[in-house]
């Protein structure tokens, strides 16, 4: 039993799947773990924070990201109402400016609710999601992205009535900005 627990603890630290039986046997170590300044399951307190791997989006292909975020809902071509400003070639993938403007009345019954920025080739494709309100009066936002490599960058707009619109541009990246 002791060896099984050690192996399960090591497996937990490596982030691998652990059998339910192994987890239950680890829970028996709770008292010792608490005394050692660790949390439930013997994982250091910091590992349960909001920036830990479990709290991040998963590493996945962009098709999986789109399925997860939009569940297969129809996406219309938004290139007539969405203006994307992003360079064709980014010398430094760590800082790629993007600006997205959407033509919209921004009235209480007809406004841009969300603008998603998604970079297909990033390990975790969603860069950010903006949530807008009619009080803005206009829909125009911007930020700087990290791009890992040459990729399509999509702006996906969700309107207040649930309609999804998309525009995208390819950005060639000379030096990737996502490190490892």
């Amino acid at each position: 039993m002791q060896r099984g627990e050690d192996e399960a603890m090591a497996a937990l630290r490596e982030g691998e799947r652990v059998s339910r039986r192994a987890v239950l046997s680890i829970l028996g170590l709770l008292g010792m773990a608490a005394a050692a300044g660790m949390s439930v399951l013997g994982v250091p307190e910091a590992a349960l924070g909001q920036g830990t791997l479990g709290a991040l989006q998963p590493e996945e292909k962009v098709d999986e990201t789109l399925q997860r975020l939009f569940g297969g809902r129809a996406m219309k071509d938004g290139s007539n109402v969405i203006k994307m400003n992003i360079p064709l070639i980014a010398e430094n993938g760590a800082l790629v400016p993007v600006a997205v403007e959407v033509q919209s009345p921004m009235s209480p019954t007809d406004y841009v609710k969300h603008i998603y920025i998604i970079s297909d080739k990033n390990r975790r494709p969603m860069n950010t999601r903006f949530s807008l309100t009619p009080e803005l009066g206009v829909a125009s936002v911007g930020t700087n992205l990290r791009l890992g490599e040459t990729t399509d960058v999509r702006a996906i707009v969700e309107m207040s009535d649930g309609t999804l619109l998309m525009a995208k541009r390819e950005v060639k990246v000379t030096v990737g900005g996502c490190g490892g």
């Binding site: 991040l56 009080e135 803005l136 206009v138 125009s140 911007g142």
Partner: protein, 108 residues
């Protein structure tokens, strides 16, 4: 090196009622990226800004859920057509409980 959490806001001067204003803000922050060891991601509590909230006279006007694929010292800009004078405030929240704020007055 500027201090982590320092917020800068730029609002243009001479705003007239009805104008669309471009507001730019920046916060000094490392926006830590995932480290890899032997091809696998290292599990730790990465320090990055994960939420940005902009308010006007206390009402939320824009929010951004952000990730590590936003640049270090992140910059955000928005266009806004204020219908009354007031206080624009932006709050940046990070994964370690950090909260950094800045505000600017808009007068007509």
């Amino acid at each position: 090196m500027a201090q982590v959490g320092k917020v800068t806001i730029r609002v243009p001067p001479d705003i007239k009622r009805g104008d669309v204003v471009r507001i730019r803000s920046l916060v000094i922050h490392p926006m830590e990226i995932v480290q890899r060891q032997d091809g696998k991601p290292v599990d730790k509590n990465y320090l990055f800004i994960h939420q940005v909230i902009a308010t006007y006279n206390g009402r939320e006007i824009l929010r951004s859920d952000t990730t590590q694929s936003i640049s270090e010292n992140p910059s955000f800009s928005l266009a806004f057509r204020p219908t009354e004078p007031g206080t624009f405030k932006i709050t940046f929240l990070d994964t370690h409980g950090g909260k950094y704020e800045g505000s600017a007055e808009i007068k007509f």
